[in-house]
C-alpha cells in the first residue's frame, strides 16, 4: 500500500512540517499560554476577592469569550480590526486571540481551585498575622495551582492542537505547512495523518511533562 513514492514524500515532508511546528506552533503555544495564565490568575482572583466593578467585568469577559467560537475571534482580530485602523501581523494576532481565549477558560479552572482551598487555611493565615495578599501568595494560590494543574495541562494540550486554526489567518504553522505540501503532491490522506502524528508527538511530550509535574507537586500529599 505504501509505495516507494509515498514513503519518499512522507520522509521528505516530515522536517518540512516539523520545522514550522518548532518555529511557530511551539512558540505560539508557549507565549499565548503564559499570557493566558496571567490573565486567568488575575481574572480568578478578582472574583475570589469579590472586588466591586472588576468582578462583573471578569464575568462579562468570560461570558463573551466562552460563548463565541475561537475561529470567529481569530477572524475578528485579524480580518476585522484593520477596518478600524488596528493592523496586527498574523503571529501577534494569533498570540493575542489564543491568550484571551484560553485566559477565560483557565480563569474558571483557577477560580474553582481557589474555592476548593479550605477557608480554614485563610483564617489560620490571618491568625498568624499575615495579610490577605500574603495569604494568597504563600498559602492559597500554591494550593489552588496544584489542584488546577491537571486541568490546566488539559487545556494546554488542547491549545497545541487548536493552534492549527491559526492557519486560517495565514500563520505559517504546522497545519498550513502540511496544506501546502498536499497541494504539491496531492496525497491528502498520508500527509494529514503525518501532521496528526506530529501533533500526537507534541502532546505525548506534554503528557510526560504533566506526569513529571504532578509528581513534583505531590510532595505534600493529598488533603
Amino acid at each position: 500500500m505504501l509505495s516507494d513514492r509515498l514513503i519518499d514524500i512522507l520522509v521528505k515532508s516530515f522536517p518540512k512540517i516539523l520545522l514550522p511546528g518548532l518555529k511557530m506552533t511551539v512558540p505560539l503555544t508557549i507565549i499565548a499560554f503564559a499570557l493566558a495564565m496571567v490573565i486567568a490568575v488575575v481574572t480568578a482572583m478578582v472574583q475570589f476577592a469579590d472586588i466591586k466593578i472588576l468582578k462583573p467585568l471578569a464575568r462579562f469577559y468570560i461570558w463573551v469569550i466562552r460563548g463565541t467560537p475561537l475561529l470567529v475571534q481569530l477572524f475578528v482580530v485579524f480580518y476585522g480590526l484593520p477596518s478600524v485602523g488596528i493592523l496586527l501581523d498574523p503571529f501577534p494576532s494569533a498570540v493575542l486571540v489564543f491568550a484571551i481565549n484560553e485566559g477565560a477558560y483557565a480563569a474558571e479552572t483557577i477560580r474553582a481551585a481557589l474555592e476548593s482551598v479550605p477557608s480554614g487555611q485563610i483564617e489560620a493565615g490571618y491568625c498568624v498575622g499575615m495579610s490577605w495578599v500574603q495569604i494568597m501568595r504563600r498559602i492559597v494560590l500554591p494550593q489552588a495551582l496544584r489542584t488546577a494543574f491537571p486541568t490546566l495541562f488539559n487545556e494546554l494540550i488542547s491549545m497545541v492542537k487548536d493552534t492549527s486554526l491559526a492557519a486560517n489567518i495565514t500563520v505559517m504553522e504546522m497545519f498550513m505547512a502540511t496544506q501546502r505540501i498536499v497541494a504539491i503532491y496531492y496525497e491528502p490522506l498520508a500527509l494529514y495523518i503525518e501532521v496528526g502524528f506530529i501533533y500526537l508527538m507534541f502532546s505525548t511530550v506534554l503528557t510526560k511533562l504533566q506526569a513529571f509535574g504532578e509528581k513534583r507537586l505531590a510532595v505534600y500529599g493529598k488533603r
Binding site: 487555611q121 483564617e123 504563600r138
Partner: protein, 249 residues
C-alpha cells in the same frame, strides 16, 4: 487589671438567629479560662468574634489597655491585635503546603519580617517544646491528628503571644490522641501562659483552668473558680449541664 476584656458582645447570623446576646468576659494575665457549654450555645462564635474571624454586631474589646468598638475596629487595629494573640483551631488548619517547621515560621518570616535563621531557631524550639523535634520536615498529611494539633500549638507559641485562644482543640481527635495535646496545654498553663479555651474536656477544665464559664443560649450562665463551679454551682442550668456531661464519662 485584666489583659483582655469584652463587653456586651452581640452577634446575629443571617439576620435571624441571635447567637451571642450580650456577653461580658475578662481574662487576667496568666489566667486559664475554660468556656464550657452545649453545642450551638455560642462558645465558638464568642471566641471567633474576639479574634475577628467573625465580625460582632456590637460590643467592645479592651486589649493591652486600649478599648476598641468591635463594630468599627479597623483592619490595621485588627492585625495589630492579632500579632499579639494566637489561635488554635478545632481542625488544626495547618498550612497544607508547608512542613511542620514552615508552618511555625511562616508567621514570623512573612508577617513579622523576622530573619529566616532566627525564625527557624525559634520554630525548632517551639516544635521541641511540644515534643516534635523529630518531625520538623513532615507535611501535615504525614502527621497524626494529635501531632498536627501540637504543631498548631507550636505555631501559636512561636509568635510569643500575650494570649492563646483554643477552639475545642481536642474535639477532632481520637480519644487516645487527646492526652498528648492536653498535656502540652497543661504544661503551658503551668508556665503562666494566658489561655482562653473553649472545650468539652471536663477534666481539663476542672484541673487546669483557673476559671470556668458556662455559655448557653448566647449568654454566660455562670462563671467562677473551677472548684466552685463544679462542686457548688449556683445555677440550675449549670447543675443540669454538669450532670449531663458527667453521666457521659
Amino acid at each position: 487589671m485584666s489583659m483582655l476584656e469584652v463587653k456586651d458582645i452581640h452577634k446575629t447570623f443571617d439576620g435571624n438567629q441571635e447567637i451571642l446576646k450580650g456577653i461580658d468576659l475578662s481574662v487576667d494575665k496568666g489566667e486559664v479560662v475554660a468556656i464550657l457549654g452545649p453545642s450551638g450555645g455560642g462558645k465558638t462564635t464568642l471566641l471567633r468574634c474576639i479574634n475577628f474571624l467573625e465580625r460582632a454586631d456590637s460590643g467592645t474589646l479592651t486589649f493591652d489597655g486600649r478599648t476598641y468598638d468591635l463594630k468599627k475596629i479597623t483592619r490595621n487595629e485588627i492585625s495589630g491585635i492579632r500579632r499579639k494573640t494566637a489561635f488554635v483551631f478545632q481542625n488544626y488548619n495547618l498550612f497544607l503546603n508547608k512542613t511542620a517547621l514552615q508552618n511555625v515560621t511562616e508567621g514570623l518570616i512573612i508577617a513579622r519580617k523576622m530573619d529566616k535563621e532566627e525564625a527557624n531557631r525559634i520554630g525548632r524550639q517551639a516544635l521541641d517544646k511540644v515534643g516534635l523535634s523529630d518531625r520538623y520536615d513532615y507535611y501535615p498529611n504525614q502527621l497524626s491528628g494529635g501531632q498536627q494539633q501540637r504543631v498548631a500549638i507550636a505555631r501559636a507559641l512561636a509568635t510569643d503571644p500575650e494570649i492563646i485562644y483554643f477552639d475545642e482543640p481536642t474535639s477532632a481527635l481520637d480519644p487516645e490522641l487527646t492526652g498528648e495535646v492536653l498535656s502540652v496545654m497543661r504544661q503551658l498553663a503551668q508556665e503562666g501562659m494566658t489561655m482562653l479555651v473553649v472545650t468539652h474536656e471536663i477534666g481539663f477544665a476542672k484541673n487546669v483552668a483557673s476559671r470556668v464559664c458556662l455559655v448557653e443560649g448566647g449568654v454566660i450562665v455562670e462563671q467562677g473558680r473551677a472548684a466552685e463551679f463544679f462542686d457548688n454551682p449556683k445555677e440550675q442550668r449549670t447543675r443540669a449541664f454538669i450532670e449531663a456531661i458527667s453521666s457521659k464519662e
